[in-house]
């Protein structure tokens, strides 16, 4: 390489580095812009009600735990624990049920596929496309007649059906990664079903199960419509509880922000801790 080309390359290299750092700056600005509302929510939750409702905003106002004390029932005496525990019950129980149903189903759709397995797979997905709200009234009427209204286990069943199609898709796509040759070799070597499952299928399936559980938990925790229509005082979940924090009188912004922060915390923690699982789950397992 001659000296002239090296000299010619230097400004181009500098220019590329400059656009590189500009693009990095742009990424940072976008990140901050998207994060800003959440940061504002958390900051406001630590302000007093008076400081929360000023114009222009009082960014530097003194911090207080008043909003959180209100959320935990200081002013009204209403405890947030029953709805939080209801949400936890509904999310965890429905997630376990989803896994118990989806993993065997995915096995029958990938490792030892039934005939027309792809039709079955599409049936699962198509149920996800029908708006849940169209089946809401019959569910309400049945629950009314069987005295299941305001019962958390009704939500467990409904959330299971809500997440099952997605879970079957995800698990199938993970189990499809199990190499056929190894399965056949194991079967020729006389490995029984338990050995095959533990030694060959489980290592591939476990990350998929984790991703499925994460997604199922998040969607159940977030659900509002069914919880609002089918539960009341006893089985109300956190999202329903949250909507009750808005009052027509007085200031409530700090209190609402504190409640929103606490209720979002489990999802934020789970999502941050398992970012890769989140992507795998959201893409129905298309991304590994």
């Amino acid at each position: 390489m001659s000296a002239t080309t090296v000299r010619a390359a230097a400004p181009a290299e500098r220019r590329r580095r400059r656009t590189g750092s500009l693009l990095g700056l742009a990424a940072w600005l976008c990140g901050i812009a998207f994060f800003l509302p959440v940061a504002w929510m958390v900051l406001t939750s630590f302000h007093s009600e008076a400081d929360a409702a000023t114009n222009p905003p009082s960014v530097g106002a003194g911090l207080t735990l008043h909003g959180y004390r209100e959320f935990f029932g200081a002013g009204t005496g209403v405890s947030p624990w029953p709805p939080l525990i209801n949400s936890l019950t509904a999310s965890v129980a429905s997630t376990l049920l989803v896994l118990a149903l989806a993993v065997p189903a995915a096995y029958a759709l990938s490792i030892k596929p039934v005939r027309k397995w792809s039709d079955v797979l599409f049936f699962f997905l198509s149920t996800k496309m029908l708006p849940l709200v169209a089946g809401l009234l019959p569910v309400y009427l049945i629950a009314q007649n069987t005295r299941m209204l305001d019962n958390i286990w009704l939500l467990v069943i409904l959330y299971t059906s809500m997440n099952l199609p997605i879970a079957v898709w995800m698990m199938r796509s993970f189990l499809a990664e199990v190499p056929v040759e190894i399965l056949e070799a194991a079967s020729i070597d006389g490995a029984g079903l338990p050995t095959t499952l533990v030694r060959i299928v489980a290592p591939v399936a476990l990350p998929g199960i984790a991703a499925t559980a994460l997604i199922s938990f998040i969607f159940s925790w977030n659900e509002l419509l069914f919880a609002r229509v089918l539960t009341g005082i006893v089985a109300g979940t956190s999202p329903v509880f949250l909507t009750g924090f808005v009052t027509s009188q007085g200031l409530f912004l700090a209190k609402v922000c504190a409640a929103a922060t606490v209720i979002s915390l489990p999802v934020l923690a789970a999502g941050f801790a398992a970012q890769d699982k989140l992507v795998q789950g959201l893409s129905l397992g298309a991304v590994k």
């Binding site: 590189g20 990095g24 742009a26 940072w28 976008c30 990140g31 998207f34 994060f35 509302p37 959440v38 504002w40 929510m41 409702a53 000023t54 114009n55 222009p56 905003p57 989806a102 065997p104 189903a105 029958a108 596929p113 039934v114 005939r115 792809s118 079955v120 797979l121 599409f122 699962f124 997905l125 198509s126 149920t127 496309m129 708006p131 849940l132 089946g135 809401l136 009234l137 569910v139 059906s161 099952l164 199609p165 079967s187 977030n222 509002l224 419509l225 956190s238 999202p239 909507t243 409530f252 912004l253 209720i263 979002s264 999802v267 934020l268 992507v279 959201l282 893409s283 129905l284 298309a286």
Partner: protein
């Protein structure tokens, strides 16, 4: 290609089947046909609990919905219950609110999905490079998606949009003051642009979702092809247009499809931010209102049936897209 790989799966079934009938030949218990049938049922067994559960919980209620849609039934006037023939459907199709709900749903879904797809693509491209603090930026960008939807809707309504103390108008006051003006514009965002208010809040939540899927797509792109193209003097735009975009097609389709499934059914944002007022009532909200507030069970069911039929039409189209994705995956 796709058909061949499917046949290969079929052969695999055949092999298994042969092996199974081979073992039964040693210990003949029933006719070969019953054994084959038993084996087929053994195959199906793990699938059945999920299938039965889903049919009972999601499909049977739809059947009930269809039946109720032909009944004159308002819970506030229970004595006046009877067969209504197509009256509920007539009411639904002549109701201007229903027509506006369909239009609102289409507009809301298309806007939110397209805008967040484009923004998500831009952000994914920005993040698909090395720079200081990339992990932090990625974490900040996915945060909106991890805020509980009702909480996000309340946040936008009360902490950001509110005309007197929301952050947006507060910032306007602050900026105007900076330039010495005491008369900043203070629009009431939710009444001035109700649908856009809902859309912006949803775009904020769904852009990270699109970005995550597209970023994963970008990172699975073969690096050597890009490097080779650069060596051959291809511009950044050429690389994007002829290498990146075709590679991303599957991911774009998947992100758009999943986004549509969720945004079409959105209830939380519409319910919280505008309570379905000022032309923002989408189909889920309208059905909820007919059933939960007007207590008109018959009409709510007819609305439900109409929505299901519309969804089926869209779903048939969307599923064809996914099925092409599936075939590509199987061929792989």
């Amino acid at each position: 290609m796709p058909t061949r790989s499917v046949e290969m799966r079929g052969e695999r079934d055949g092999l298994d089947g042969a092996r199974e009938s081979g073992t039964t030949a040693v210990r003949p218990r029933g006719g070969p046909r019953t054994v084959g049938r038993a084996a087929a049922w053994a195959r199906r067994a793990p699938l059945l609990p999920a299938l039965v559960f889903l049919i009972v919980v999601t499909q049977l209620p739809f059947v009930a919905t269809v039946v109720i849609s032909f009944v004159r039934w308002n819970a506030l006037a229970p004595e006046n219950r009877g067969f209504a023939a197509f009256d509920n459907y007539k009411a639904v199709f002549t109701d201007p609110a229903m027509r506006s709900a369909i239009w609102t749903t289409v507009l809301l879904t298309v806007t939110v999905v397209l805008v967040s797809l484009v923004l998500g693509l831009g952000l994914a491209l920005l993040l698909d490079r090395r720079f200081k603090g990339r992990g932090i930026v990625r974490t900040m960008l996915i945060t909106p998606f991890l805020v509980v939807p009702v909480a996000a809707a309340l946040l936008w309504k009360h902490a950001l949009y509110n005309a007197s103390y929301g952050l947006i108008n507060g910032s306007l006051t602050w900026i105007w003051k900076l330039f010495g003006s005491a008369d900043p514009p203070q629009p009431d965002w939710m009444t001035a642009a109700p649908l856009a208010s809902v859309e912006v809040a949803l775009i904020w939540q769904w852009t990270p979702f699109m970005m995550l899927i597209l970023l994963a797509g970008l990172q699975s792109r073969p690096a050597d092809a890009v490097e080779a193209a650069r060596m051959d003097g291809a511009s950044a735009w050429d690389v994007f247009r002829y290498l990146t975009l075709p590679h991303l097609r599957r991911y774009l389709e998947l992100a758009a499809l999943l986004g549509t499934i969720y945004v079409v059914q959105n209830f939380d944002a519409v319910f919280t931010i505008t309570s379905g007022g000022l032309g923002t009532g989408n189909l889920p909200y309208t059905i909820y209102q007919t059933f939960y507030q007007a207590h008109d069970y018959g009409r709510a069911s007819a609305q439900g049936v109409v929505v299901v039929v519309c969804s089926l039409l869209v779903a048939a189209f969307a599923l064809r897209t996914v099925s092409s994705l599936l075939r590509e995956e199987v061929t792989r």
